[in-house]
Amino acid sequence: MPEVLMWIGGGLVIAGTLLSLLGAGGVLRFPDVYTRIHAASLTDTGGATLVLLGLGLVSGLSLDTVKLFFCWAFIMLTTPAAANALANAAYGAGHKPRIGTFQIMPADKDIPRDDGPPESGAPEDGSADE
């Protein structure tokens, strides 16, 4: 039975590694900051889950299982928060999402930038209040 668990755990580790490789390829090939954040965040959480679950199956039940659970919990808490904050910061700095068909990627300095930090409320809702 431990042999079977070891093979299943190794397969899960390989699956998580392949997911991380797919995410790295997406970060290299996607055209926009937001799509890159999307690819990196999703594949990081999924790949971390698969790899740490595979390592837990390989190691068996011990104190290391608790350490693996805490490592997984920290990654699952911090990676979406970092991706959210990064997308918010990029939007506040004036990066526009690239919509529609695109053949030419403009230089980053040509993108117009706002001056201050973004307001917390949605600016579009101001006219609807009257």
Binding site: G10, T17, G23, V27, G54, F74, T78, M105, A107
Partner: protein, 97 residues
């Protein structure tokens, strides 16, 4: 050997992230690449710990996961406010005065 293959694949993914961090057109691409590189480093440390038969490396992996998040947030704050010591609420007061 499955764990060795997993470690090798993680190293390849980290190399691709380094490429994005070097050629990234904006600062946010570079911060994203460094953040994802750190997450893959956590996974690599955990896999290498089991590969070498020393699962105590998981403590280092946990500490690196926490440092990675704090590093990302600190980089974004330093990029927006050009300083790490300035509080977040002081910018509006300074602009009002």
């Amino acid at each position: 050997m499955l764990l060795a293959a997993g470690a090798a694949g993680l190293v390849v993914a980290m190399t691709l992230m380094i490429v994005r961090a070097i050629i990234g057109p904006s600062h946010y691409d570079r911060i994203l690449a460094v953040n994802s590189f750190g997450t893959k480093t956590v996974l690599l440390i955990a896999v290498i710990g089991y590969l070498f038969g020393r699962p105590d490396f998981l403590d280092i992996a946990i500490v690196y996961a926490l440092i990675n998040f704090v590093t990302t947030i600190a980089l974004m704050k330093a990029l927006r406010y050009q300083s790490l010591a300035r509080p977040l609420a002081a910018r509006k007061e300074a602009s009002d005065a």
